[in-house]
């Protein structure tokens, strides 16, 4: 099993130089395509250079494109970024489409992404606008002046009613409903 993740650096999302706040600046500055003119492993790279490279360069005037032929070596993509980082990609036996996909990735990222594990998907300079929550938020200020020990404040909030309480309540309710007539009846009964 791979243990490479054990020493992987971790961090938080950052963008270089406040990118995107005013305008967006593409971070890829230079891309180098290295390939062999004869070898089969470079075939996709050669196809890409023949068909799409000029279009890519025209679409992205901010990116310098170098093409470097070399004998009997695997094809390689190297991207160099504004923050000084340099990403090296092996493209051995890749097709034309795969190479255009990797070039797109090099273009859209800000630097080497493979070396950083993100701990959060959010970054902010202002964590709270209305102030962080505290247990005293939206509480009655009376709680400040209570003196302890206090019987009311020390009681649990959810004491269930006992059976006796329920009975007393029922009795009172009956009495109210029946009114005075019932009391007379009760008195009569007691007298008997």
């Amino acid at each position: 099993m791979s243990n490479s993740h054990l020493f992987l650096k971790s961090g938080f999302p950052r963008a270089p130089l406040q990118n995107g706040l005013g305008r967006y600046v593409c971070q890829l500055q230079r891309i180098t395509l290295k390939f062999c003119k004869n070898n089969g492993s470079s075939r996709g790279m050669r196809d890409f250079i023949e068909n799409h490279l000029v279009d890519f360069a025209k679409e992205n005037p901010g990116i310098v494109v170098y093409v470097k032929p070399r004998r009997h070596r695997t094809p390689v993509l190297v991207g160099e970024y504004l923050n000084g980082e340099r990403e090296w990609l092996n493209c051995r036996n890749n097709t034309k489409d795969e190479i255009s996909k990797w070039i797109e990735l090099l273009k859209t990222q800000n630097g080497c992404s493979s070396s950083l594990r993100l701990r959060k998907m959010w970054h902010t300079d202002v964590p709270s606008v209305q102030g962080p929550w505290t247990p005293f938020l939206l509480r009655s200020p009376d709680a400040n002046s209570i003196e302890y020990p206090n019987i009311d404040a020390s009681k649990p909030l959810d004491i269930p009613k006992t059976a006796t309480d329920k009975l007393i309540e029922l009795f009172k309710k009956q009495k109210l409903e029946a009114g005075d007539g019932a009391e007379d009846l009760l008195k009569q009964k007691r007298a008997e």
Partner: protein
């Protein structure tokens, strides 16, 4: 405070529904107005909210509108729904969308599903989202990249079974440019025109 704003808006919306739609239409739920925002609204008796409460709500709305008009509200924050997740954002924030997402670098987008917007002194809460056009959130896509390599390792003991897969999924980084309150808080009539154009 926010509850009062809500209740006022609720009342306003309720009355407009009454005037425009018949009861039968509502029962069939055929009307375009039956979007997620105002689906089977819990029946609230309008008379139950007393006059002075309404007056108080109006007062609060007016104060919010005044503050926004004078640009005294300070920094705004919002809770937006984006690609199945909710983010609490304020101008200058960076958020990341995980998985495939078509917008590319340099695209300026507006996040329309705003669930909540707030400033130092007030909060506007949507049910579940705010009316379209009430709050505009502008953002820029600044990076599309892949995550670090994640290893998926499976093994069953004594069964000669072992699999190892490596995976990198796309990530998109977005910078929030601005959050603005663009309409008056108690305006409910304008929203109707936009409803047909909205996707959600």
């Amino acid at each position: 405070m926010s509850f009062l704003v809500q209740s006022v808006r609720h009342v306003l919306r309720h009355t407009t529904q009454r005037t425009t739609l018949t009861g039968a239409m509502r029962a069939l739920s055929l009307s375009p107005g039956m979007h997620q925002q105002n689906k089977p609204a819990p029946v609230v008796d309008v008379a139950a909210i007393t006059k002075d409460q309404q007056k108080e709500c109006q007062l609060i709305c007016d104060r919010i509108n005044q503050q926004v008009a004078k640009a005294e509200q300070g920094r705004l924050f919002a809770v937006v729904h984006l690609c199945g997740k909710q983010f609490k954002i304020t101008p200058g924030d960076i958020i990341l969308v995980e998985g495939y997402w078509p917008p590319t670098i340099g695209d300026e987008i507006s996040l329309d599903k705003v669930l909540l917007a707030g400033a130092r002194d007030f909060t506007i809460v949507g049910r579940p989202i705010l009316e379209p056009g009430l709050v505009t959130v502008k953002a820029t896509v600044i990076e599309k990249t892949l995550t670090h390599t994640k290893t998926h390792f499976k093994k069953k003991r004594r069964k000669q079974y072992m699999r190892i897969n490596f995976q990198r999924s796309p990530n998109t980084m977005i910078r929030i440019n601005s959050i603005e309150v663009t309409q008056t808080v108690d305006g409910t009539s304008k929203a109707k025109e936009d409803l047909s154009r909205r996707l959600f």
